[in-house]
Symmetry: C2
Subunit: 527 residues, 2 copies
């Protein structure tokens, strides 16, 4: 069922020379299928098909596109055990995680389907004309969101389903009306091909144009670079490292026509643990955070890599309890030998820094690609002076910073790079004494959490998953939740356009009954 | 009253070495005041003040910030004749235009004030929690727009009031909650200083923090470059040439932390004149377009620089009538000797291209900085082959392209660079036969106009003034209208945040009574 070929639109194709295999990190062996990397001809064909599909796809109504997204969800479910098994064999993640992530993927597709079926998301904004206004008539202006054009989505290693082939980026782009070319992630190319087959079947069954979706295999960086440089590509979605995301951003910025790159990159997700909370429930917090640091082998973008407290008995006890709790957790397999390799190296680099104290480091024997979780501590002064300590160690690793006082805590927060999330652990109204700390944190993050953990990113309209650089290349757009559709669209105005030629969403009669701004009033009424 | 100094926050300052004067283009003489360019210390001080003002300014409520914007409008009006006279002496534009543009500037400030006083613009989006959801509780998430931080606004030469010191960009950024540092346009530095004095007075009178606004003089590109490179600057607004806008975009993209540059640049604003319309009312169209091409000496970004028709008697007659009409119009003074110099040069470059025919060129004697309007014609084939003809000639100049047929018309449209606007002139349902042409046009522009002229950009919420590159660096944001506030903000989510600590806009009780999305329903109700 897995062929190792690319999908150039609806056609399976393998005309390139380069092949590669995925790895089962649990068994530490190669999986069977040889995948054929897309060559330049195939890349061009996929983009040419996407451009041709763009206009046709946009003639489809919201409900028609919604049927396509729902059909993708159905077809992914129909892949059943072969998908779950392939996922596990390529990621080393357990079945439960595979099923959970599939549920999230399906849920995202259906959430976008529901949104575009309803239709109000296109932000219809109407200012009716005043032909007899003096000194000049006021024209009739009607604005809505329209899709940017063909877009490229890079599969993310750490979410082989929910942020890869038919993940959040693809679902949002297809919902917006943009044909999608996926640059398949080499570590889960089989999972990617299976999901692609589901998308292609759904596209055919619901009458979508050939080229609305393509899936390109790639083992290195060349395919991605070629895609981002192509003049017909209009936007890019990426989840991964700062180095990778920035490289794509730089390519896109240097194009004759620059295009947006939405890269969701590194984050250490600072957690501020206020003294009374540590005093009153340090033990419970230690258990909770031991779980949050190690969940999914620490391979979530919201992993709490930095815990900040004010020195004292409460913090010392917490460090001890966290250290005890975290080594009780059974280590788990990381996604790929390269990832565990980077984890071990980055962990060691951190540990080697002067002033760093290892509070916990899992010591027993583990499987070959299994990650040993660790907790380290450092004084506030040392952390401020050594920015190497500010860098993410991707994996089940966290650093506790012992600050001298609230002023130093604020100073540290103010000196952090941009982050996806910030968390405050506070008892009762303790937080009221730390207004400046909270204000500083708000300028560094995209989401702020009260008495929780940063891991677990709800898919809903009020989610913002994106922060100041380098958490994201563009803090103004979310990578998770239905508002992520806004990355793939631009506003478009019609001036004095005849009613019968307007898109349905902007017609006087409001045949879709959507919520619109009419002369600055939000209403579902007709005009 | 005009000192020639910079405003570093509330303080007049002139510590730099470089001075320059503005020019009265009508009289072709220098105006009196010597302006002192800001030096690096002054630039740094302005930005440091802006950063400090950022947090304080954000503690101001919507109504408080609205009072500030309204006070700016009042103070600009209070400048009275000195402002109008300075404007005219620095721009060569007539008093009527000065008054009209002042009205537009005041109107913009008051429109943003009204919007932030009401408050719904921050897009409050709430998903209430479900603590007993299985398998995991659903957190409470609440999202709203927050300001990016200190921003830099470049004054535009062609709108010394409405898109300069207190113009659309500044009004939108201040409304959003961003302190503004204006890079004053050297051609109207006196107008800029007067308007700055109005802003500073308004800031003091309404209790706004020092640093919420600064105005920096600059004669060349260095001050602007330094501002865009500064790590504490978080976004940039610019209106001007493609060369200038792209240079700023490139600087911003290369920063360690890239920032958005909203540059509204060149556009030739194609107008498609369908055959029946030309046949039935070519004479009236000629009169209308002679006016649109020459209004403000053709110095509007929406100037119709490209008229497209299908060859035939109707088009030939129109060209003749347009040529006759346009030379009847009295030439007017351009903004600056440099601008008329560029106009004459670019016009000549266009005329020198092979296959170009001059249909009209104002021949009588004109004042020294007055622009001679011209209309040229070219065959569709020639236009397609020579992309030099696709470039803007900034001034009262337009090119009529005689296409062989509808297919060639569509091909030409598809090969155009991105544009701010596209216009269709059509009789009755003639347009129905040109669906492909209209579809092609929609991919190239940000606003499409039916049976009108592109000049005249209404300030309202349904306006989109921004198109695919190089019309703008970012087609997803408008430079005109109240939605331009979206350029200066990012979404921010609060997770499980205690109600009493939430911003007013997100509290359960909805004390402001604003329109919010609550569990995907748009409502003004409380929770």
């Amino acid at each position: 069922m897995i062929t190792g070929k690319n999908y150039i639109g609806n056609t399976l194709s393998a005309r390139g020379q380069k092949t590669y295999k995925t790895i089962n990190p649990v068994l530490n062996i190669e999986n069977e299928t040889a995948f054929v990397e897309a060559n330049s001809d195939e890349i061009n064909e996929a983009i040419t098909l996407a451009e041709a599909a763009y206009i046709k796809y946009n003639q489809k109504s919201g409900p028609e596109k919604a049927a396509f997204l729902n059909a993708i969800a159905d077809e992914i479910l129909a892949l059943d055990t072969v998908l779950i098994e392939t996922y596990c064999s390529e990621s080393g993640l357990p079945q439960g995680r595979a099923q959970g992530e599939r549920g999230r993927t399906i849920g995202q597709l259906r959430a976008f389907a529901a949104m575009i079926e309803e239709g109000s998301w296109i932000h219809a904004t109407i200012d009716t004309g005043i032909p007899d206004r003096a000194p000049a008539p006021k024209p009739d202006l009607r604005k809505m969101l329209v899709p940017l054009g063909p877009v490229v989505v890079f599969g993310a290693s750490n979410f082989p389903l929910a942020f890869s082939t038919a993940g959040g980026d693809t679902a949002a782009a297809l919902a917006a009306g943009c044909p999608v070319i996926v640059k398949s992630h080499p570590m889960h190319a089989g999972t990617g091909e299976l999901v692609s087959s589901a998308i292609i079947k759904a596209a055919k069954d619901t009458g979508m144009p050939n080229g609305v979706f393509s899936n390109l295999n790639s083992s290195g960086i060349e395919v991605g670079q070629e895609l981002v440089q192509h003049p017909k590509v209009k936007a890019v979605g990426f989840t991964g490292s700062i180095k990778g995301g920035r490289a794509l951003f730089d390519i896109a910025a240097k194009r004759e026509e620059p295009i947006p790159v939405f890269a969701e990159m590194g984050s250490i997700n600072p957690v501020i643990m206020l003294p009374e909370a540590l005093q009153n429930r340090g033990g419970a917090l230690a258990t909770t955070y031991a779980g949050s640091i190690t969940v999914g082998s620490g391979q979530f973008c919201t992993n709490p890599g930095l815990l900040l407290g004010i020195q004292g008995e409460g913090l010392s006890n917490f460090i001890q309890q966290l250290s005890e709790e975290i080594v009780k957790i059974e280590p788990s397999c990381m996604l790929h030998p390269n990832i565990i390799g980077a984890y071990e190296k980055n962990k060691q680099t951190a540990i080697d820094q002067e002033g760093l104290v290892v509070a916990a480091d899992y010591g027993s024997e583990v499987g070959v690609n299994y990650a040993r979780q660790a907790v380290v501590t450092v004084k506030g002064d040392t952390f401020l002076q050594n920015t190497t300590l500010h860098h993410e160690v991707f994996g089940p690793f966290s650093m506790v910073v012992e600050c001298e006082n609230a002023a130093q805590l604020q100073e540290i927060i103010s000196n952090l790079e941009g982050q996806l999330t910030g968390t405050i652990i506070s008892d009762n109204d303790e937080i009221a004494k730390y207004g400046h700390v909270v204000a500083a944190l708000q300028t560094r993050v995209g989401r702020i959490i009260f008495n929780g953990v940063p891991t677990g990113v709800e898919v809903c309209s009020a989610m913002h998953h994106g922060g100041p650089y380098p958490a994201s290349t563009d803090s103004r757009f979310t990578a998770v939740g239905t508002d992520s559709i806004k990355r793939w669209v631009r506003p478009f105005s019609f001036q004095d356009w005849p009613d019968h030629l307007l898109p349905t969403e902007l017609k006087n009669a409001n045949p879709l009954g959507i919520s619109r701004s009419v002369n600055n009033e939000q209403t579902n009424a007709s005009i």
